[in-house]
Amino acid sequence: MELDELETRLDAAADRLARAARALPGLDPGSRPFGADGPGRLGELGRAMSTQFTAALDARDRAAGSAGSAVAHLGAGMRHAAAGYRDVDADRGGQSPAGGGA
């Protein structure tokens, strides 16, 4: 695999990560199905369950953001390297394809 292709795949992965992360909050059914509006200690339990679920989704959301930025950072690095190779090729008259050794 050459750097150009890897760069493309990393960009696609970063986009997919961002989309999947954006979809996470939509998986929360809200507090009512947990019984958060119930009376007395029943409502207390429902709210605690709902809060725990929302916090778990938030934790996954942060992890997704962290993964997304790592992949995007890696993609930027590959893009930078591939551009460098292309510049060298251009200087030499385009004899070597991007993705050559460096």
Binding site: G38, P39, G40, L42, A59
Partner: protein
Amino acid sequence: MDLLDRVYPPASDLLSRVDRALLSLGAPPGHPVWSVLRAVGASPADAVAHFVALDPGVLTEAARAVRTSTSEWHEIVAGLPRSIDSQGVAAEAYVNAWPGIATHLEDLAGGLDDTSAFLGAVADWMARSRRSLAGTLATCLGSQEALMLRAGELSGTSHAVIVSAADLGAQVLAMVSHCLDDGWQVRDRFATVLTEAGPVDRGPAPSVQSGHRIDVR
């Protein structure tokens, strides 16, 4: 439609009578209904109505949606190569960073699996509670106390009516209290879903030797 859905309509009138008797006539001092009333913080009719309104199916469906979303993360990991043919600083940077990113994404998928399992466990708890409560209500419906309450005049001060309402209320709320304890245990057992994944390990920086050179062919 589960057992509670079937038992609740005939039981709701009895529960209303229990509530009215407890509110208007009270209960004997030291009766067990007092301690379960404090533990639950709701009247028998309100507590049962709460479980009747809970629909485990909504959370089962939400659990399925969360579980389905995890495949997305696995696919993202699978879509990235472990290594590349190129050599050099960029290739080394990629190979160094790949394990950390893959591990992070796998941990993320694992965390979502746990989150889905939590939703499933809450749905199971709801279904279990509804079954238990339905059994208790069925027992109450056929009891001597129920007969007494239906026949008795709630505005009176018949000791038998007061005790019957207190007994039935205690029986229902004891089951509700048991379901509450069960629910808190489910919630505590899945406290691990809150575990945060650490930062992504991007691996060591690629090494650039002093003699490093770019071969331009």
